[in-house]
Subunit: 407 residues, 2 copies
Amino acid sequence: MNRPEGKVLVAQGGGPTHVINQSVVGVALAARNFPNVTAVYGALHGVSGIINEDFIDLSRETVHNLNQVAATPSSGLLSTRDKPDREYCEKMFEVMRAHDIRYFFYVGGNDSSDTVRIVSEHAKAANYDMRAIHIPKTIDNDLEENDHCPGFGSAAKFVSQAFAGAGLDNRALGGIYIGVVMGRHAGFLTAAAALAKTYADDGPHLIYLPERAFDQASFLADVKRVYEQHGFCMIAVSEGISDADGTPMISKLMGEVEKDAHGNIQLSGTGALGDLLTKTIKDELNIKRVRADTFGYLQRSFLGAASDTDQHEAREVGEKAVQFAMIEGATEGSVAIRRTAINYAVDYELVPISNVAGKTRHMPAEYINADGNGVTQAFIDYCRPLIGSSPLQSYRFRAPAVPKILG
Amino acid sequence: MNRPEGKVLVAQGGGPTHVINQSVVGVALAARNFPNVTAVYGALHGVSGIINEDFIDLSRETVHNLNQVAATPSSGLLSTRDKPDREYCEKMFEVMRAHDIRYFFYVGGNDSSDTVRIVSEHAKAANYDMRAIHIPKTIDNDLEENDHCPGFGSAAKFVSQAFAGAGLDNRALGGIYIGVVMGRHAGFLTAAAALAKTYADDGPHLIYLPERAFDQASFLADVKRVYEQHGFCMIAVSEGISDADGTPMISKLMGEVEKDAHGNIQLSGTGALGDLLTKTIKDELNIKRVRADTFGYLQRSFLGAASDTDQHEAREVGEKAVQFAMIEGATEGSVAIRRTAINYAVDYELVPISNVAGKTRHMPAEYINADGNGVTQAFIDYCRPLIGSSPLQSYRFRAPAVPKILG
């Protein structure tokens, strides 16, 4: 078979995850097995490191250190928010050719897969024999073709641990708790809060996703109902919730603030949506104790929160990418995770890059409840294996009440 | 010795911690060893459960379930923000007498210790033979007499894990990151962010504590200097930072917002300080990527983040409280943790309740650097054992740079 001799290049793009280094290390270790690989380079700061020729030679890493970095969250090769256009991709291709890169592996989301597609086109047009494979990662879990994406399971574990703990806190002191979760277009990560439930009255009691229009009147009615029933209420809200017109609530609420003559104040800090929902509940429902936490960067980087399942799979997508290129002779494509047993096994396929590039997957309808304020058991069954083997169980005293004497 | 027959009552007050249930379980299990104990009651919702006679009979708990609840964060007996006055304490005492409570153990902070003191006074005045012992807990680490407080080590571990991960994230994408940490009067928890450092250029680069006046000009100069040096900057800020007049920055910054005719907008949600510091940096230093996370409730409740050292000590303070009352015949006091080896051993003493009640301990001067924007090695040596045995290490690729070909 045709397996050109040359270098392997691996890079990471977009937002870091807990396990993205696993995929780089999966590529580096797997590529060492092939004698036609003359070196394994890593590009620093993603695509910008490629156009700047900022490469490090991962061939000179020890296995031990590779494994230690793999277990470290965030992008060990550093990242970039650059979104390459055709010209940028052309420049990338020129650098790759100069360094005799014959295998390009890019770990990232849907923008990154589009970059892989364009670079691969340039190689073909130039009749340069190169394999370009996209390796999936995103905490948003919004890549097409994938049962789920590397990075999501660990972020989902963080979100469910956060809600489980905050729920115990909320139960102890009462009131309303809002947790604002990342996910501008897809609600998977916010929905993962549902895994925090142990007992029937545990939160989150209400979950609002970008896939359903957010209606403030229904929201307030929901909160009132739950609060009157329990004396506490846990709410998971996606940062991307939008109204029926598709206007993000964050803009809408800030618009109202501006309408009330609050000027040009930049409420673009991450606490804004939570604080504004808090204010809405206090004003409209007259409930005193209302607290909002915006999970922010912790949900994708917190040291020591990775899902072991996610770690293993992120390693495997890197390994499989190399195998598809070296053994199956694929010239381009995107590695996709397929679930082969609901509870739980997976396998990997190489799918056409155009099936993934620039596309966004949303929560399927069967994972969202009829009222649009919660998730179904089908979602919980889908999500639970992804957070790995760590227990999320919380326990309560079971001691019986003592009869009153004074009354 | 005088060891009256009767019931043991245990309750929890104030903000939950990761390990507060350990102390209740320490009391419950230790008290079972004494045949003069007729039952072990737990009061629900702290002191309010006492005046309402809302007790559960912990004598009927299994050892297994007690241990499971002990490992669960937040207050398993639920909590309260009630701050009892003398009349309230008198009512508590009447209920205790009606139920033949002869041993009262209250797990809480400095307010809770004052409650124990007053209840104990009433018992003495009524010539009612009762022991009242305060058991320490607070994530703020601000109780007098204690080397450190149960609950702090786990919260410190959370804060350091959060900063370690967010630091890797910040390094990958650049810019400024602000983490706002709990602690209105004492800076210990914010200072614990310093444990996140592995490499010399790791953050946090700047730490602002309530013990030092916050000066906005110095703050901006600090941030500018670090950012120009590294291209990124990690900042830990205590929610309680105040200016030279003692005015909390949160009020001051919001005052400025109001002065600019922004009306009565309730910026009391937890994201406000971080968002306003973000705005200040963007406006004054013209740096584009500035992000703030406010750690909020997660830092005291996140499921699965407890320090094992903290768990063991929280269990021990409960056990020791019972031993002081039953074996040493103490009638009142507060259990205090003393460090007997810097790295690391502790022992417990019963100290006069008046040494702790209503008092606040601050960061000693030797733990704060000369510029007031960081901590000393002495603080790191003090704090590191408290976060327990989990590694906080992060790893970097060590691969050498590849020579450029094109340019």
